[in-house]
Structures are given as structure tokens and as C-alpha cells.
Symmetry: C2
Subunit: 404 residues, 2 copies
């Protein structure tokens, strides 16, 4: 018994059958005595269809009008889901983002939630209604409809859970939880019962793709307990919550990130401030640099290698070539035949030997490590792209996930 | 130079080509130095498609959720039209019904406009924007989205024109004005330059189908000059405005109404109050009775015949049979093989001989008149359904429309 926020993605409501499947989950939760607030995305391909419609008219349409158009997607899914719940005989009301009180910054297409005025949702709950809210959208201070951009619906759900002080925020997806590795790659990957916000953040940024970082960051900030679970199977998922301090080693997962490229600046002058110059240049164009490796070159020069998202590689190279004189390198090399494989888990800093165990696994599999990066809860290596899945399997085998 | 409200129906924005055609009309009006507010319906079949989606889920969905769903139709068309106007390089902003300040009564599906808070539209006009508003929709006092029901978009346009004190409200349709008769039936039907609100009301209620009565009534109440014109041809349409007092006969048109059935109550007791009893019974079920004819029957009884909308025939018969004892008729007859043909025009009451000219035309065409009804601006006859088009042509030929 409590207040539960449930979020369903677009594929969970893509057709009549799925809508009634979701309605069953919702009404079961309601029947069990809970107050239920539901956050829904646009159905299946609706958003893509609307974008195609817009592009036919104007491929450079303003973001304001795009938001006006795209926000209809969730409005359609909330009303259809509410109709399904009505059909099953339960009291329900659907609310758009603005009706549910989502106030955002004014930037269209990627607006951040400023605050939520929860009165309307609270009132509907007090009237014993199931409340179905359109995710991904809000209203800015000009009374214009905004959309939240990538990961928006998850963020809507977590923000609403925070505002309502919900007991839990359930994120229903097409996987049944967070795994120690991608089950399509590692057969004996284990589903985690629990994971901390920080660990989840690392896994998400490394491409596990279950929850968007933005929603996890918000959950961490407002102490919202998230549960990731499947809308297609009735079983417990993975709880994402505050870290419990542990000294015991708990590797939470092995993950690969394919959106990565390596850039090398060869033969830089060995003068102070050269790294600062390069990375502030990249930062000015909002290019995120991840692993950085600096080595002594020949003849009083040095080499700097670093990784950027694959999607930013061309922009980074163009920028470095444009500022070739400023950078002062002899030459610039780029390699997108790489992939980043990481292990994530709290307690790593108390457990020497974790890194060496990982490197040993890679050595045994005859996989060459190009770069290494470590943090309190993560060790990442850059390896050749073709070795990615073998690396994940080897590392996963080397650790014991049975405890999780 | 002035403030012009332009309304475009669903077929006028059904695809890319039509949307740009409409955008051209709008931007031409704007370029000519006018402030332009546009009211748009949902594209082509969108509303029907959404209704089908809803029925698949729940054929008895609440009207509130239907309104939530259906209002997305206009939201899609306003954003796409705004994108087209952007593409043509003009400043534009789209507004939903609630953003444009449409406040309605609370009944979903057929809400009446309570008032319009015009500040937002006024502000956008002051910023030199073309303003594209979603017709057919508003917000009730619970902050829920409502739709206005039949004729809603025309009514939105006229109401907004009234609120903004627009110089003209142009209703663009797929015909180029109001004709003296249906051009598909009468080859030499003439387009009217002007028509009064009252005449338009009679023509609309008799099935001319260009403007919904609700919008004409509102235009009459707030003195809004309407122009009905074609979105496909560049030429003046028909102005609907205050009547100019005339003594000259001006028949404005001949029209037929096929949504009619005749009911006869035979052998009623010849006692006072019997007509009152019957018609208050029908009124209690909101069945509109039009032409009424009472005649002396045999043996101290009387017969009463009247017409009802064909769509109400079954309900009327069921009610009369249910209350057979109260009604006290010997038998009840019904005939839906009838049609109502009317001439409409101010000045009729000053011109005796109009009715006889109409009856003569029907006599010459060998068409039998079953019932007759007259008002200050209308003469209607009930005839057999098969004679309808011949009757319209004969009557149209008998009058001279060249003056109009």
C-alpha cells in the first residue's frame, strides 16, 4: 500500500493488445490498494511518423512548432490507455504534461523540468482516480508546450515520483531488469536485484541503455527508489537506490560502449599548458573527451591520445585540423575501430586486484589493451572493436556474480 | 488593412499541397498589410481515424477522454500549417484552443464557448505574428480539454472574430460562396454576393450546408461579417451580414431538405389541448417538429400531421406508440418518402404572390404538394422524395435571380 508511479515506454503501448496488457498491470496495482500514477510515452512509431510529416512540410521547422506537433503523440497514448482502463471498469483520468503541472525551462526540444505543480495529480488521486500522465512534455513560462528531449519520459516519471513523494517509481521496459552484462552476449549474465545510483549512471553512460542518465541523476538527487522491470513478464526487476556502504567487492556488471573513437596527436611540443589548450578547444564545441593518455614521444615531444564519442569524431577532427597551428602537433591520427569495455561496481577502491583480474582475463583471451581508465566505481579499457564481445564474456567469466 | 480571421476546414489542409495552398492565401493576406488570425480544423480524415482508434479500445469511452484524443487532430494541423508558413519565411505561431483562451462550458463533446480570453492572440499579433489557432476545442473550468461538437471550427472562428473585433471572418470551404440553389441540381444557380444572417440561418437549416447555424447565430449576435469563399479559387465569395431593410422582393435561394419524415395521427378526439399534449411529449425528448397540419377528420375526430427530422422518426414513433393511450389516436402513420423544398428571402411579406408563383411552378411540373409552411422569410412545401430535384429546378426557373 502506497503511492506508486509507473512508467511505460512507447513499445509497451504500441497496439491494442499491449495497451490492455499495461492496463492490467496498472489496475492490478490499484486493486492491491495503491495510489497509482502512470507516465506514458507516445505509441510505438508515432513520434517518428510525426517527424516525417513535419519534414515533408519543412525540414527546418522551428523547435517550438515541432514540440507542438510531437506532444500530440503522448496525448494520443494517454487517452487511449485511459479508455482501456475505463473499459476494465476502473476510475481514471488522463492528463497532458501541462495539466499535470510540468513546468520547464523555455528551450524547446530539450527542455529541463523546472518544477512540478502537483496539485492536480494530487486532487485526482484523492478522488480515487488512476492518473495517466503524458511523459516527455511540459509547459514553459510563455505557456508554450515543450518536450524534454532524450530520456524525457523516464525523467518525467522520476520527477513526478519526487514531487509526489512516491514510495516507488517503476520503469517498465522490454527487459526485466539490469544485468551484469548484455544477456545477448553473455549467456550466464545475472539479473541484479539492486544497484546504486552511481553504478547505474556508469552502466547507462557505458551503453547498457536501460535507463537514461538524466532520470537516474534526478532519482539520485531526490532519493527516488526506481525499479526497472518488464511489462511483459510478472517478476521483480532491479531496484536502483541509494548506495549501501560496502567493503565487500561487488562488481555490478560488465558493459561495452561502441560509440567511441580514439584520436591521437603525435609529436606535440613538450611545453606546459598544451593539454589544457587542446581540451578546452574541444570543450568549447561541447565534445566530451573520456579516456586520456599522455606519453613521451621522440625528440623532446609528447603524444596525447584520447577518446571521444564516435558521433563527435568528425567534428573533433575538423576542429583540430582547423586549429592545427594552435595545437602544434606533427600529425593527427584517428581510429574508430575501437570499443570501450568496462566493469562497474562499488567497493572497487577497497579491493586491490580487481583491475589485475580484469587484465588477466583479457590476456588469457589474447586481447590487446590500448588504453586504460579507472574511477572509484569503474575500470574501462579500450580494445579493438572485433574483440568486444569476447572481452565482455571473458571478463564476466572471471568475476563471480552469484552474490548479487 | 485590418484584422482578418480566416477559417480553413479539414479538406483544405488534408495534404502537403493543400497546406501550402492555404499558407499562400494566409501570407498574401498578411503581405497586404493585414493582421491575420487563422482557425484550422483537423486534417482530412484525422478525426475519423482517431475515433476508429478509440473504438478499437473502448466503444463506450468517456467523452472526456474522447475530447483528449480528438483535440490532437487540430493540434497536428496547426503545427504543420505553421511550419509551412515558416518555410515561406513569415513569422507565425500556432496556438491550441486553450492557449488561444477558449473557455467553454464543461460538457465534453459538445461544449459551448463561454468566453475567449484574447490576450495571448492579441499579444502575438502585436509581435507581428500570423496566429494559427486550433478550432473546435477549448478548456472547461476544470482545466480539461473540451471539443465544441458539430460546426465547432466555424464557431471558433466567428467567436474569435467577435472577441478580437475583426473586420471580417472569412470561412474558406470547397465551394466558392452561397448559391441560389445547389449548382449540382440547378445549372443556372447564381452565387449570391450578400445574404443576411436570418436568410443564411434558414438556408443552413434547410440543408444548404455551407455554414453551420451555430456559427451564423453567433455572427448575428456579435455582428461579425462573415465571408464564405473557396480555398481553391481566388475570387470573392458571399458576404453574410446584417439585413438591409428592403421592400423589393429578393428571393435568396431554393433549397431542399432530405432529412425529413411525416408522421400522421389519425382519428384524434376533438378536444382542446390535444395538440399541446402531443407536441410537449415530443419536445420532452428533444424531437423538433417542423411543419404542422391539422384537419377535420370523420365522426367528430381530427387528424394531425407533422414533420420531424428523418433521424428522429423512429424515436418519435416509439414514443407515440408507448404513450398511445395518452395520445388517443385511432392509428399512427409515418412516411419517410418525403422531402421539404423551400424558398428563402427577405421582403417576402411585402410581396404577395410569391407563394402562388412557387405553387404554380410546382403545378406546371405536375408535382403534388402534401404540406405547406410559411414564415416571414421562407415558404416550404413537403413533396414526394422523387420529385425533389425537379421541384428545385422548376421553382428556381420561375424566379429571377439576376438581381442578386
Amino acid at each position: 500500500m502506497g503511492l506508486i508511479v509507473q512508467k511505460f515506454g512507447g513499445s509497451s503501448v504500441r497496439d491494442k493488445e499491449r495497451i490492455f496488457n499495461v492496463a492490467k498491470i496498472i489496475t492490478d496495482t490499484y486493486k492491491a490498494g495503491n495510489e497509482v500514477v502512470v507516465v506514458v510515452s507516445a505509441q510505438g512509431d508515432t513520434t517518428d511518423d510525426l517527424i516525417a510529416k513535419a519534414c515533408e512540410i519543412n525540414e527546418n521547422a522551428s523547435k517550438r512548432e515541432m514540440d507542438m506537433l510531437l506532444s500530440t503523440g503522448e496525448q494520443i497514448s494517454i487517452s487511449l490507455l485511459a479508455m482501456a482502463i475505463e473499459k476494465m471498469g476502473f476510475p481514471v483520468v488522463s492528463l497532458t504534461g501541462w495539466q499535470a503541472g510540468f513546468l520547464t525551462r523555455s528551450n524547446h526540444g530539450a527542455a529541463r523540468i523546472r518544477r512540478i505543480k502537483g496539485e492536480r495529480v494530487r486532487r485526482e488521486l484523492d478522488n480515487n482516480n488512476i492518473v495517466v500522465v503524458a511523459g516527455f512534455q511540459g509547459l514553459n513560462r510563455f505557456d508554450d508546450i515543450t518536450t524534454l528531449g532524450r530520456g524525457g519520459s523516464d525523467t518525467s516519471a522520476v520527477a513526478l515520483a519526487a514531487e509526489l513523494r512516491a514510495d516507488r517509481c517503476q520503469i517498465y521496459t522490454d527487459v526485466d531488469g539490469v544485468y551484469t552484462a548484455d544477456p545477448r552476449i553473455v549467456k550466464d549474465a545475472v539479473k541484479l536485484d539492486e544497484i546504486s545510483y552511481d553504478e547505474m549512471l556508469e552502466l547507462a553512460s557505458l551503453g547498457a541503455g536501460v535507463l537514461h542518465n538524466r532520470s537516474v541523476e534526478m532519482a539520485k538527487k531526490y532519493h527516488v527508489n526506481i525499479e526497472v522491470l518488464s511489462s511483459l513478464e510478472q517478476k521483480p526487476g532491479t531496484i536502483v537506490k541509494e548506495a549501501v556502504k560496502v567493503e565487500k567487492l561487488l562488481i555490478k556488471g560488465v558493459t561495452k560502449d561502441e560509440n567511441v573513437a580514439r584520436i591521437a596527436l603525435i609529436g606535440l611540443p613538450d611545453t606546459p599548458g598544451i593539454a589544457f589548450k587542446i581540451f578546452s578547444l574541444l570543450a568549447s564545441k561541447k565534445i566530451n573527451v573520456d579516456i586520456i593518455l599522455q606519453s613521451i614521444g621522440r625528440h623532446n615531444t609528447k603524444d596525447i591520445s584520447f577518446t571521444v564519442p564516435l558521433s563527435d569524431k568528425d567534428a573533433a577532427l575538423a576542429l583540430l585540423h582547423e586549429k592545427f597551428d594552435v595545437v602544434g602537433a606533427e600529425r593527427i591520427e584517428a581510429d574508430d575501430n575501437v570499443v570501450k569495455v568496462s566493469i562497474v561496481g562499488a567497493g572497487m577502491q577497497y579491493n586491490p586486484g580487481v583491475a589485475s583480474k580484469m587484465f588477466e582475463a583479457l590476456y588469457d583471451a589474447n586481447i590487446n589493451i590500448q588504453m586504460i581508465s579507472t574511477s572509484e566505481i569503474k575500470i574501462s579499457v579500450l580494445i579493438e572493436r572485433k574483440d568486444a564481445d569476447r572481452a565482455v564474456v571473458s571478463i564476466h567469466d572471471a568475476f563471480d556474480f552469484k552474490d548479487n
